[in-house]
Every structure is written in structure tokens, then in C-alpha cells.
């Protein structure tokens, strides 16, 4: 066989081998939004000062005159103090949102809203932590997210219940 033909055959074989190797299925990557594993054994996966800002909001709720706000504050306190990896507060990896905090939700056939939380984490964006918000605003925002965790919102994305908690908890004497 002529040498040019041999070279061409060899090149084709190499190209084929390289493409097969490259097309091998890559490992399935997790969807964005899944919390990173907490190797630091801290329940609040933010800086110390940021965690204290969140904690001040939780304390505000726990000391509220409105029993519902107090109850949701206790729920938030559990989340804050929960063992690592079970529940907590983490920094949002999606800082492009227009809002301060969020919860990951997935469809559910058992909750009134048709959604349930994906995990026990509330994700907090930098704007919430460094936007100059008051203890009442932070606490009321935390209360709003706690309602998402319970699945108590209205059908579809009706956040009326969560909004009602925010409004009620903003007034410490209500």
C-alpha cells in the first residue's frame, strides 16, 4: 500500500479515537443551588458578622408580641442552630436575584401550595446582609422564608401567607 494512503488511514484512526474519548459521558453535575457541604461544622454558613445580623432578626421574632411571629422565630432559631448539613442559612449562589433571601422549591402533591422546599436551607444574598436593613426587616424577611419551608403558601406561587407574616411581624407590638 502506498505510504500516503497509510498516513491518511492512520490520521483517520487517530481522529476517531480522540473523538470517542472526548464524547464519553461526563459525570452528572449537580443542579445549581444545591448547598455545598458544610465542612466547617458551622450551622450558619456565612461570616460571623453576617450570621450575627441574621441572628438579630431571629431574636426579634422570638421576642415578638404576636404569637405567630414568635412561633416562626422559634422555627428559624432551630434552623440556625441545627446540626451541620441538616438545616441552616447559606449564602445564595445566585446573587443576580432582585430579592434578599430565597428557598429552593420543588413540585409537591401533598402541600396546599403545590410546592415544597427542596432542602432545609434558607439562602441569603449580599443585599440582605449589607443593605442597611433593620432588625425588624431582617426578622420579617426570615419569617417570610420560614413560611416557604412549611409549604403554607397559596396554590401556585401565591405568596399571600408569606407576605402576611412579613407585614404582621414588621410591627413588634402587633
Amino acid at each position: 500500500m502506498q505510504r500516503p494512503a497509510l498516513i491518511i488511514i492512520a490520521v483517520v484512526l487517530v481522529i476517531t479515537a480522540c473523538n470517542v474519548a472526548q464524547d464519553a459521558t461526563a459525570p452528572q453535575r449537580p443542579m445549581p443551588g444545591e448547598p455545598a457541604l458544610d465542612f466547617m461544622m458551622e450551622d450558619c454558613q456565612l461570616s460571623e458578622s453576617e450570621c450575627m445580623r441574621l441572628f438579630s432578626g431571629i431574636e426579634y421574632l422570638q421576642g415578638h408580641a404576636n404569637q405567630s411571629c414568635m412561633d416562626v422565630g422559634n422555627s428559624a432559631r432551630y434552623r440556625f442552630d441545627a446540626p451541620s448539613g441538616v438545616a441552616g442559612y447559606a449564602r445564595g449562589d445566585n446573587q443576580n436575584t432582585a430579592t434578599g433571601m430565597y428557598v429552593g422549591m420543588v413540585p409537591s402533591s401533598t402541600t396546599y401550595s403545590g410546592y415544597q422546599h427542596y432542602n432545609e436551607y434558607t439562602y441569603v444574598n449580599d443585599i440582605m446582609l449589607h443593605g442597611g436593613f433593620s432588625q425588624a426587616q431582617i426578622g420579617s424577611s426570615i419569617a417570610h422564608e420560614e413560611i416557604h419551608h412549611t409549604g403554607m403558601d397559596g396554590p401556585g406561587h401565591n405568596t399571600q401567607v408569606a407576605d402576611a407574616y412579613y407585614t404582621a411581624c414588621m410591627n413588634p407590638q402587633a
Partner: protein
């Protein structure tokens, strides 16, 4: 003579393999053409922001979608002004918008959010894009207006709480080059 011929063969093999590997590197740095971004946007809008989806008791169909093409185009790597909204070639029934409509809105209900009104503001950002798969985030933003009733053509008044859902979507590219919806991850809800 024999050594030179073998050397030529090895150089040919080495060069071919290198060229092939370069061509096979996931194209994370390559921008998708505007029309392809537009096709992706149409697919996402139809699958994850359908007209019958209810947002705080009012459907997307009644609210109407305003789409921030400029913000989306920038997220897909195009410098400002390099391509226009019409270059996307969208087939979806959306109106062009910008983030300026959110200027008097916030999550804490401190403003009336008059520019956004009842409408749904949507923009899309890629998280990762390869030749075969894409992970994107679809930002869906609207104002919850407590007990105010929706009336067609009547601007809302009163307190407005800005809410957002971020739908995380995986797309796959078909053999014909079309991007198709595969599945969604957790929706991030404010």
C-alpha cells in the same frame, strides 16, 4: 530516508490528534449566535413561563411578559449594543423591557412598583453551556399586590411586594441544532 518518512508520519499523527482535541473542548468560551439564543429563549418561555401559570393569583397570560433582551444578551457574553433585541428573532408574545421597570420596587413593599404594574419581568442567564448541554436560570419577577384585584388595562395602586422565582433549567441540543428542555432543578423562590 526511512527515518525522515517515519518522522513525518508521527508529526502528522500528533498534529491530527491535537487539532481534534482542540475542536472537541467544550465550547464554554464560544458565544451562541443571537438566533440560537433566541430559539433557546422561546423554548424556555414556553416551557417554564406558560400563560396559565399563576403568580400571586394572577396568571402570566393576564399579566403579560416583558422580556429584558439587553440583560439576557449581555449574560450570554455580548458587549452592550453589539446585537439588538430583534436579532434574537423571538417568536414568543413578549414586549421588550429593561431593568429600569424595577426601579421603584422592592421585596420589602416600601414602594408602589408603578412601572412594573401587573406585568412579569423575565430575563435569562446561562450558568454553563457546552456543545451538547446547557444549564440556565430563568428569572421571573412580578409584584404581589395584596388584595388588589386585577383589572385589564387598569394600573394597580397600593403596596407592592416584589417577588422572584428563579427556575433552573437543563437544555440539550438536538442533532438538528435545536435546544430542547430536559428538566428543571429546584426553583429558587423569594
Amino acid at each position: 530516508m526511512t527515518i525522515n518518512k517515519h518522522r513525518s508520519l508521527w508529526y502528522a499523527l500528533l498534529g491530527s490528534c491535537c487539532l481534534t482535541l482542540v475542536d472537541s473542548v467544550p465550547a464554554q468560551q464560544d458565544r451562541l449566535p443571537p438566533a440560537v439564543v433566541g430559539q433557546m429563549v422561546d423554548e424556555l418561555l414556553s416551557r417554564v413561563v406558560p400563560p396559565n401559570e399563576s403568580l400571586s393569583r394572577v396568571s402570566v397570560g393576564r399579566r403579560k411578559i416583558i422580556f429584558d433582551g439587553e440583560r439576557t444578551i449581555a449574560a450570554f457574553g455580548y458587549p452592550a449594543g453589539s446585537i439588538s433585541f430583534t436579532d434574537l428573532g423571538l417568536k414568543s408574545a413578549v414586549t421588550q423591557s429593561s431593568r429600569a421597570v424595577l426601579e421603584n420596587c422592592d421585596f420589602w413593599g416600601r414602594h408602589q412598583c408603578t412601572r412594573l404594574g401587573w406585568r412579569v419581568y423575565v430575563w435569562i442567564e446561562p450558568v454553563t453551556v457546552t456543545k451538547a448541554n446547557a444549564f440556565v436560570r430563568v428569572h421571573i419577577i412580578w409584584a404581589d399586590r395584596d388584595a388588589s384585584s386585577f383589572k385589564e388595562g387598569v394600573p394597580p395602586t397600593g403596596r407592592a411586594v416584589l417577588l422572584e422565582m428563579v427556575k433552573q433549567v437543563e437544555l440539550a441540543r438536538s442533532g438538528m441544532g435545536r435546544w430542547n428542555y430536559v428538566k428543571e432543578g429546584p426553583t429558587l423562590v423569594s
